[in-house]
Symmetry: C2
Subunit: 137 residues, 2 copies
């Protein structure tokens, strides 16, 4: 199984350690194409490619070749929203992971979309169970 | 011409007055389907519909029926990213407006996408000229 993991880069890196933990777990189900998203050395400057066009085209090719998109949506990110939009519009299987916290308002365009699966979680153990349930279904 | 204007709601309302000014200008070219995005009474709680599903489905129908998407992308927003992704994937004409400021890092997924037109501007008069150039081309 090819898994595209999406998490905030330029929108903010406060969850990068969590992304890394989720990616490690996803790797027990298949190949994670975007392992760099969990790299703690990658800052919100987002220098994970030589140009923005290179990053976009590489990531989009990975996205369109993946079997499933798993997106952590707690940190607001334009790029994660874009990836979810392209994946939904192209009919791909999408799982969104949201950690409800004070001051975090998930977009209605994600929370209200019936063509993706949204789950809410509190900690790593909970999110692992939810991911496992989704990927094994 | 049917125009879908996208701007941040739950991602933050600091640019709502600017959205209203852009919408007023867009109305000189056609019908703006999402005039509520510029309503200064609409807060980041995003209560512009009874449920998230209602908001998503209403906005998506407007988006897919529009001739063009004009998105203000300076304030990071998951919903705006999602709308751009769906519009690009469905082959729609997309204009993104970005106001470079200290601490604002535009996503590589927007800045590096060749299937949309991205313009950078500093003030309302500049953005009006750029919009006019795009919509009249």
């Amino acid at each position: 199984m090819k898994i595209y993991f999406a998490g905030s880069i330029r929108g903010g890196r406060e969850d990068s350690v969590l992304y890394q933990q989720i990616i490690e777990y996803l790797k027990t189900f298949g190949e994670v194409l975007t392992e760099h998203v969990g790299d703690p050395n990658l800052t919100s400057l987002g220098d994970d490619g030589s140009t923005d066009k290179y990053i976009h085209d590489r990531d989009l090719e990975w996205l369109l070749n993946s079997d499933v998109l798993v997106a952590e949506v707690t940190t607001v990110s334009m790029g994660v929203g874009y990836e979810i939009g392209r994946a939904v519009e192209s009919g791909k299987k999408v799982l969104c992971l949201f950690r409800p916290e004070l001051g975090k308002n998930l977009s209605a365009m994600i929370a209200g979309c019936k063509d993706l699966k949204l789950v809410r979680y509190g900690n790593l153990e909970e999110v692992k169970l939810l991911i496992s349930g989704f990927l094994n279904s």
